[in-house]
């Protein structure tokens, strides 16, 4: 019954999307500025019905309706309710419904929030967005239908991978989708802008809020994903330059660049075509990322299950998007007389875009290169953290300096009157850095430069706050938090301590400043898993602090999996992180201990970064 409801709702939505496109074309022919009332109504109905469809699927998961293949493959009756619900979008088919929800809701909201803009522009946006919606609805119905039936009906489901049963991972997809799926709306708006010749600052105002929303949520989504990786995957890192992680970062670079170039487009009415390119690029990167992650061509710890048929559908969709974009770009391109003054804010925005494109090219290249070398020369290589770190980090140093100086530049022409205060701040940053080196521990040259440049950005932002009016508060918050982010990552990296050793029950070991003892091993039985819980005492002989950590080895039943749960003790000074794993055919356990200073401040920095985006959003909404 649920399956029939779901399928029925999907089909209705295909009809509604087509109807919206048809009505919009009809409405375009009429030479007035009024959009048919029924277009609004159908859009609202579309969003409502898609939501109902989604709730139908959630219901199926909650009641454990195993007649649906998706529920059978990804759920289990003994799963806690929270994870039954979040399991709805924790799989390929269900997550596509989430895609469609964002696409339709954004479509409707954009329509009603843009009443001050020309009809043609709005209708073309609606049309293009609905083509995207149709594309995904077809994909769902013909290839990845969460409502497909299985017969005979299994008595029990296969269960959800235990490492996915985590609150952070439950909200990770929704946050991320508001981000990069939400970018679809300004993809459509950009196309509409070209088609209806609606350019300039009014167009910038039209999409600004949407870019801010998607940027802020994308930042949050990436944050939550990193937090999940840190807590769940057990190696104490939060970013691995894994292809799936990169897939979420690429649209973020484009969004950040777009955010900044919109400032220029709005204030000075220049950089229109570059802004359009960024709008098109963001969603194109989102779909490319989706393709890479779900098609099975990547080897990663994060990937969904492999299925090349999905890959073909997404590839076709991507190709159509790309060629449509190129077609309109090429046919509508007009060389403009953009005036960019040196020493002005426009220049610094361009510099931001310049660096963002560098990061984008680097990460895109690193992610795609193994695929290309394998396809062309059958040569298999890996591209991992050492590559990204060595290419990107030196450039970030210079980037941070520009981030500090840029916002202080004025529009049109800037006089460097504040050179003196800039140099003073730089001196302060250098002093603080060497104080850290002197009192604590010295580190590599690059680390020194990173600390100096991030301190420079932080102090510049703070100075800015005391100088300027409330107007630039959101920007100060975001730039400041970015400075903090790099600072804390740098400090964390340089002062982290790692110990990797083997212990058996009752044994103790002294390594450098630490003494470890495996005091106890308990067997515990939980709802859906058994666990071997270790009681590990960690003594820091410097601070005389004694800690007890409880790492676990968990054995889940459905599906049969073994996971290692880290024991993490968090406070504002740092984290103590410990994992224990068994060694085959031995009574020894492998212990990995890490002390990670200031870890929580890394998360707080990203949270503040995103918060700056929301502040800007509210400020923007208030002014318009």
């Amino acid at each position: 019954m649920l399956s029939n409801t779901g399928n029925f709702l999907l089909l209705i939505n295909i009809f509604l999307s087509s109807l919206i496109i048809y009505s919009s074309f009809k409405c375009l022919k009429i030479k007035n500025n009024i959009i048919f009332k029924n277009i609004y109504q159908i859009s609202l109905m579309q969003s409502t019905l898609v939501l109902m469809c989604f709730f139908t699927l959630i219901a199926a998961f909650v009641v454990s309706d195993f007649s649906l293949i998706t529920v059978y493959q990804n759920s289990h009756s003994l799963k806690p309710l929270f994870y039954k619900i979040s399991g709805t979008w924790g799989n390929h088919e269900g997550s596509l419904l989430l895609w469609v929800i964002i696409l339709t809701i954004f479509s409707f909201l954009f329509l009603i929030f843009n009443r001050n803009h020309p009809k043609n522009y709005r209708l073309y946006t609606l049309i293009i967005q609905n083509f995207l919606i149709l594309g995904f609805l077809f994909f769902i119905i013909f290839n990845s239908n969460p409502f497909s039936l299985i017969s005979p009906i299994p008595k029990e489901g296969l269960g959800l991978n235990p490492i996915l049963q985590d609150p952070a991972l439950a909200i990770h997809p929704p946050l991320l989708y508001v981000g990069f799926v939400g970018s679809s709306i300004y993809f459509s708006a950009a196309m509409a802008s070209m088609i209806s010749n609606y350019s300039g600052r009014l167009f910038a105002q039209s999409i600004k809020s949407w870019v801010l929303i998607s940027w802020a949520f994308q930042t949050l989504g990436i944050l939550v994903g990193s937090i999940w990786a840190y807590y769940e995957l057990g190696w104490g890192g939060f970013w691995f330059w894994d292809p799936v992680e990169n897939a979420s970062l690429l649209p973020w670079f484009a969004m950040t660049a777009l955010l900044h170039s919109l400032l220029v487009l709005e204030k000075r009415n220049t950089l229109y075509f570059w802004t359009i390119i960024l709008c098109l690029m963001t969603f194109t990167l989102s779909v490319t990322g989706t393709f890479l992650v779900r098609s099975g061509i990547l080897n990663s710890v994060h990937t969904f299950a492999n299925d090349p048929s999905r890959g073909i559908y997404i590839l076709i969709f991507l190709s159509l998007m790309i060629f449509a974009s190129i077609y309109f770009l090429f046919s509508k391109y007009k060389p403009t007389n953009d005036l960019i003054n040196s020493n002005s804010k426009e220049t610094f925005v361009l510099i931001n875009n310049w660096f963002m494109m560098f990061y984008l090219v680097t990460v895109l290249l690193g992610t795609l290169y193994p695929i290309f070398t394998d396809a062309i020369s059958n040569n298999k290589i890996s591209v991992g953290p050492p590559f990204y770190n060595s290419v990107i980090i030196p450039v970030v140093i210079v980037f941070l300096f520009f981030m500090a100086i840029g916002p202080q530049a004025k529009w049109i022409k800037n006089k460097f009157s504040n050179l003196r205060s800039t140099l003073l701040i730089l001196g302060g940053a250098i002093i603080i850095n060497f104080a850290i080196v002197y009192f604590l521990k010295s580190y590599s040259l690059i680390s020194n430069l990173i600390l100096i440049s991030s301190l420079f950005l932080i102090m510049s932002s703070i100075f800015d706050f005391f100088k300027k009016s409330r107007l630039s508060f959101p920007r100060i918050v975001s730039h400041l938090s970015f400075g903090f982010l790099i600072l804390f990552i740098g400090l964390n990296h340089n002062f982290s301590v790692e110990k990797d050793f083997n212990l058996k029950l009752g044994e103790a070991k002294k390594i450098d400043d630490y003494e470890f003892a495996l005091l106890d091993l308990k067997l515990s039985q939980e709802n859906n898993y058994k666990a071997v819980v270790g009681k590990l005492e960690v003594n820091n002989s410097n601070t005389m602090k004694r800690r007890i950590l409880y790492p676990e080895i968990r054995i889940y039943d459905n599906p049969q999996t073994l996971t290692y749960e880290a024991s993490i003790e968090t406070n504002f000074l740092g984290d103590h992180y410990l994992t224990m794993s068994n060694i085959d055919r031995s009574e020894y356990y492998n212990i990995k201990f890490q002390h990670k200073p200031l870890m929580i401040w890394i998360w707080i920095s990203v949270l503040l970064l995103s918060f700056g985006g929301f502040l800007s959003l509210f400020k923007n909404a208030k002014n318009n």
Partner: protein, 173 residues
Amino acid sequence: MQKIIKSIIVFLFIFVLLVFYNSLNRETNYSTDYLVGNKLTNINLKSFDDNKIYTSEDIQKSRYTLINFWASWCAPCRIEHPYLMQLSKEKNLKILGVNFKDKKINASKFLNELGNPYYYMAKDTTGKQSVNFGIYGIPESILINNETIVLKKFVGPLNEQNLNDIKEIINSL
């Protein structure tokens, strides 16, 4: 000029999409079986029974050698064992068995039960020697000639097809 740039851009996108399409049917799991043609050096394997050490010289005495890494605790090793027994009857081939991270009692029991196809018997209790051969899991087999050059690698248990390939190589001239 503009036309050229536009054509290049379009061509680039088509190229990228074609590579994506091509990659859809490729195997993502890595396997080292393409690493052939290298010469094995620094062969230093402890003998299974006594304190003898096997080096390259010992192995170069036979025309072809199949180096087979195995253990009593490895289930697929049981499955491939009959094929090894078949191969042990081949004239041009001698099989060097390297017992990997195993206990002598269990290994001996395994061979008593399923038969011993090995002309040379060695062991690698720590697993460190296996790295010298490029082994990353067991069972794994390497076919070399009398100059210790790798002719073929078999990652995973041997099957019928592998058997025929080996026979073809060792019986050709």
